[in-house]
């Protein structure tokens, strides 16, 4: 009883602050609006031209995600290599030397910076810079995902077993050789599986990016919404759900194959 009371006292100001009033949904006027909007969903748009457009835009969405991921990898791989502590030669003798430590720390901060700005914000920035269209989406995904991949790759590489890598370094291999022959075979499966999983996330997020004008399915969905074209909205939502489910399946299958 006391705790219920206390919870209410704490929650009440929060509910007021967020203007949480679920009953407005049930007011007659609003119910009418909702009913009309949902009624306009039917029948879903299915003219051949529109379906062709949706197919083209879905493909563009996948392309944005894939191109963005590729650029993100180009960004993430060198940054990961530069920031991984396991690959430090000076740390072999105990403590890492000052300059390598500073470089690794700087690269880490850069990764945090890239990753902490959401791709939506990057997309808004790039829409201003390069104009409406898929380029903004690709660049936004590349930057945010580059940061995420770099950070998580680093965590994967440093969380595993280092014996093989350190032993190669101790016997005089270069850092990249130790990475290729020690660290990479040790962690390849986990790295690949995380990359595929991120690609799936990128497909989802590239739809959202469309809403700010970064091309693809999202942009069409946005304009259909603004035109109150319910039939088109429903078709595109269905395609979106199917696309995410498909990416989910492909990614699960790939990850299983990589074991």
């Amino acid at each position: 009883m006391f705790w219920t009371g206390a919870a209410l006292v704490v929650l009440w100001p929060l509910l007021v602050a967020t203007e949480f009033r679920p009953w407005v949904l049930l007011e007659t006027r609003n119910l009418d609006v909702t009913r009309r909007f949902i009624a306009s969903f039917f029948p879903p748009a299915h003219s051949p031209e529109f379906l062709a457009l949706v197919a083209r835009e879905s493909w563009r969405t996948v392309a944005i995600a894939t191109a963005g991921m590729t650029l993100a990898l180009v960004l993430a791989i060198p940054l990961t290599l530069a920031s991984t502590r396991v690959l430090s030669v000076s740390a072999l003798a105990g403590r890492m030397a000052a300059v390598p430590f500073a470089i690794r720390q700087l690269v880490r901060w850069l990764l945090v910076l890239l990753r902490s700005v959401p791709e939506l914000v990057w997309a808004l920035v790039f829409v201003r810079v390069v104009g409406l269209g898929p380029t903004a989406g690709v660049l936004a995904i590349a930057l945010t995902y580059g940061g995420m991949l770099g950070k998580v790759y680093g965590e994967i590489l440093e969380s595993g077993e280092h014996h093989a890598t350190v032993s190669l370094l101790r016997n005089g291999s270069s850092r990249l050789q130790a990475f290729l022959f020690g660290l990479l075979p040790q962690n390849a499966a986990e790295l690949a599986s995380y990359t595929v999983y991120r690609w799936e996330c990128a497909i989802r997020s590239s739809v959202v990016l469309g809403f700010v004008g970064a091309g693809g399915l999202g942009q069409q969905l946005d304009s259909a919404m603004k035109m109150f074209n319910g039939g088109e909205v429903l078709t595109m939502l269905a395609v979106f759900v199917a696309l995410v489910a498909l990416a989910d399946h492909v990614s699960a299958a790939l990850r299983k194959a990589l074991g």
């Binding site: 190669l168 016997n171 291999s173 022959f181 040790q186 996330c201």
Partner: protein
């Protein structure tokens, strides 16, 4: 390679500040091409000694000279180049589980390979005949293309030794090479190692738990106990009394019973932490 230790002491990097150093001040000379066995009970500092010799662990005090040079006074790049001329084979063979045996063995060559060549070797192994020959000496030629995690512990240890044969090194530091091998394999493995080191003129320093093997295959034997040099004698002069004194209170190790395997700090299999999988 000539090795020279002057009043050299070392402590494990993870050791507590107040604890006794793993290696008490120690003088030692090993000339090029010599074969030396290091024996002593567990915790005597054998592995620490090897790590110091391999320039893997900086001495806490005293100096180490390799061919007259003090490695820790060299610039970092030169020190790393020097590391390429010696090979330290740890007791637990450092093999990534998914690697193929041929790649793991050829990884011994890396210090002598350019980056482009090693990259190519990742897809098409650079010198399969050499790997085959090295493995054949340890009776493992049929495992050439197997995955490392399909091998038994003893086979893995011999793969680790085959890698030593491929290293472009003139100083071989081998830590407990026989700990996972049965007596027959152990005799064959140590025989191969000694014979190959001799053929290449390499200096060989091996720590061993098998006292009989050490006395039979090595002309010079060092006894270490509690980080101190108990004796440094030709094998023929190592008497039963000396051995009994060296292994006092550790007699089960002298009798050849396997010591309890304690995971070494820093080499203990770390529990891989699951990576975060977050997606908004």
């Amino acid at each position: 390679m000539n090795l020279e230790l002057q009043a050299l002491a070392a402590r494990h990097p993870a050791a507590r500040a107040g604890s006794a150093a793993a290696l008490q001040p120690l003088d030692l000379r090993v000339s090029a091409g010599e074969h030396v066995a290091v024996i002593g009970p567990s915790g005597a500092g054998k592995t620490t000694l090897l790590q110091v010799l391999a320039c893997a662990l900086p001495p806490a005090s005293g100096t180490l000279r390799i061919d007259g040079q003090v490695p820790w006074r060299l610039p970092r790049r030169a020190l790393h180049a020097l590391r390429g001329h010696l090979v330290l084979a740890p007791q637990v063979p450092p093999l990534p589980p998914r690697q193929r045996v041929v790649t793991a063995v050829l990884a011994g060559r890396l210090p002598a390979m350019s980056l482009a060549r090693s990259l190519r070797s990742l897809f098409y192994p650079a010198d399969i005949p050499a790997a085959h020959e090295a493995l054949e000496r340890f009776d493992l030629a049929d495992k050439l293309f197997d995955r490392v995690d399909r091998l038994s512990g003893g086979e893995r240890q011999r793969v680790g030794l085959a890698r030593v044969l491929l290293a472009p090194a003139s100083l071989w530091l081998v830590d407990e090479p026989l700990s996972a091998l049965d007596p027959t394999r152990a005799r064959q493995a140590i025989g191969t190692l000694v014979e190959q080191a001799h053929a290449r003129g390499a200096t060989l320093v091996a720590t061993l738990h098998q006292v009989e093997t050490a006395l039979a295959h090595f002309p010079r034997v060092l006894g270490l106990r509690d980080g101190r040099l108990a004796f440094d004698l030709p094998a023929a002069q190592v008497t039963r009394e000396r051995l009994a004194r060296l292994y006092a209170q550790h007699e089960h190790e002298l009798r050849g019973e396997l010591p309890q395997e304690l995971p070494l700090p820093g080499e203990a299999p770390a529990q891989p932490a699951p990576a975060v999988m977050h997606c908004r």
